[in-house]
């Protein structure tokens, strides 16, 4: 019983971790949380859906196209809109991401309406794996597996590839990076592209679990944001840990205390953590010099 709850928590936590990671890598570059990433992910999931249902493509083709689409969408958003903001204060950038989110949400709703659709996935949400007398959701296990692989790949990318290192440099000090020949503009665009891809994977893993509609990513986005805040907005590892932590806490709370207020727990945890550690559990602190 406990094993199932924990597995469920890890599975949900994987989604939150992905969303949190996607948030943090763009946050580190722009110091602004990208609220549009949820809807970008949702639209990507719809792209996959349309390909599979209207065009009868297989899952993996649809998946690939959706990923590419997500990348282009993310990169495009940064290059065409975000970069053009003339007075990039934190508030104005935040508001731009909110506006884009709203417009995307509207466009998706306009195009696809409010009906809920069943998302075709190689693994059904109802399948179970049995280990002894405990049964785990196959989809949940797949989610944990796929997201772990993706996150490891992302971390490896940042650590070991030239581009990844360049991105880290840009995040830490864009002026120094530029002086050292890093094409910071392109790097920031790529950061958004990669973030969008991570978000799209999260959406593609969420869609089979709950049905696909335009509000698909609302809850995961909020939870992912909460997880990132919990872990610390300027540390990717912290954000991921925050995601798993949140998933576990939430599921434990839901299983043993109250299912109804399961979601409210997320908010409560955040407020409690931030009260004692205003920058998150694992973050580093920066102070402004006067």
């Amino acid at each position: 019983m406990l094993a199932q709850v924990l597995a469920g928590g890890l599975s949900a936590g994987s989604i939150y971790a992905l969303v949190a990671l996607a948030l943090v890598i763009t946050y580190k570059t722009t110091e602004v949380p990208n609220f549009a990433q949820g809807e970008m992910a949702m639209v990507s999931a719809f792209v996959a859906y349309v390909l599979m249902t209207d065009f009868q493509t297989g899952f993996f083709v649809a998946f690939t196209v959706a990923i590419v689409f997500a990348f282009v969408l993310g990169y495009g958003f940064e290059a065409v809109i975000l970069r053009r903001v003339r007075n990039p204060t934190h508030l104005s950038l935040l508001v731009v991401t909110l506006g884009f989110q709203l417009a995307l949400f509207g466009l998706a709703g306009w195009k696809w309406g409010a009906e809920q659709r069943q998302f075709p996935f190689p693994v059904s949400a109802n399948e179970v794996l049995r280990m002894g007398d405990v049964s785990f959701s196959t989809l949940g296990v797949a989610t944990i597996g796929i997201s772990s692989v993706l996150m490891v790949a992302v971390f490896a990318f940042f650590r070991f590839t030239k581009l990844g290192v360049a991105m880290q440099a840009t995040q830490q000090d864009s002026m120094a990076a530029r002086i050292n020949g890093v094409p910071t503009r392109r790097v920031v665009g790529l950061t958004f592209g990669i973030s969008s891809v991570i978000g799209a994977v999260a959406a593609l893993l969420t869609a089979p679990l709950i049905t696909l509609d335009t509000t698909l990513m609302w809850d995961p986005l909020l939870k992912g944001f909460a997880a990132a805040v919990l872990g610390g907005l300027n540390t990717p590892v912290g954000a991921v840990l925050g995601g798993y932590l949140l998933g576990l806490i939430e599921n434990l709370f839901g299983a043993y205390i109250s299912v109804e207020f399961k979601s409210a727990v997320a908010f409560l945890v955040i407020v409690l953590v931030l009260w004692f550690r205003p920058s998150g559990l694992f973050a580093r602190h920066y102070k402004r010099k006067v």
């Binding site: 949380p33 934190h90 508030l91 508001v95 995307l104 909020l222 805040v229 908010f267």
Partner: protein, 366 residues
Amino acid sequence: MGSTPDYYADVQLLRGRGSWVKLAILLVVLVTLPLVFPGYRIFTFNYMAIFVIVGLGMNILVGDTGQVSLGHAGFMAIGAYTTVLMMTELGAPFPLALPVGGLVTALFGFLLGLPALRLQGPYLAIVTLGFGLAVTQIIGHSAFFGGHMGLVVPAATLGPISLSGDIAQYYVIVGSALVLALCARNLSVTRVGRAFRAIRDSEIAAATMGVDVAYYKTLSFALSAAFAGIAGGLLALMTGFISPGVFTFLLSLMFLAMVVFGGLGSIPGAVLGSIVMGYLNLEMDAFEELPLLGPALESFSSRFMSSAGLPNVGWVVTGSLIVLTILVEPKGLHGLWIRLGAIVSGRSAGSSGPPADPSGPPAGVS
């Protein structure tokens, strides 16, 4: 050395005969409006006035004090539910229930302001977002608040006058909006408003000059919450029915968007931005009925998009407006107004005018 009245002129609302005339015209228009237009239009005006009240509050918090809130729909809900419950549970008359609703909401605003003291931008945004959602979740799950089914608003009276009709509600709502606009304006040109803006521009300097930053930040939250709470109570009056489904994150987003769109820090900007977005929010379901544009949208929808999804155009428009505002004229409508004025009077628009970030101190009746 001039005598004191000279210096008061700096902050005086009505300077010179021109201002009095403009005020008179404004009042005449507002008073006669409901006598000229049909019932459903009055409903629209009421709705826009309610948005204006929220916008004034948001301007205090975001425009003047430089904070952020993605959860103001939650405050609106608190005000609405407090007002209604005071009437149903305690039998309080509406004129008492409404201000109490505002005060209770102010208290919650103060409470939310406390964590705000320690949190920087994005953290604050997410906490306020969480707050707004938590409020509606708690209301939705609680039988006392009517759960997801909501509450019916009992008939309200202002003394002997019934407030069940559109016109009576108009005078109450628009009248409240006018009074609150005056309050907001007066607040902004005096000591408290200056303290707010000082915190926005340089918290360290403000503290150095003796401003108790913690007090004023929480005060700012409390005040802006109170505005939203009163707007909530008035919304309850207007619609006769409240449920948690009204006070969504999307609504909070609208509230933020409208003050940015209008021009942060500018009261006329906040008012205008709120009017526009309030109208958009309300008319979203009825886009097909727009003259000319409506049928075009309708046919475009059925060909390329889905017909059923047409109301979502409202979100597309709002979202695009927000993005365009930031890209083209970050100072919002107020900024456009200044630019227009500069062009008309032949000056270069760059020199004086609204600030790079939120706009400058509000003028008198303009």
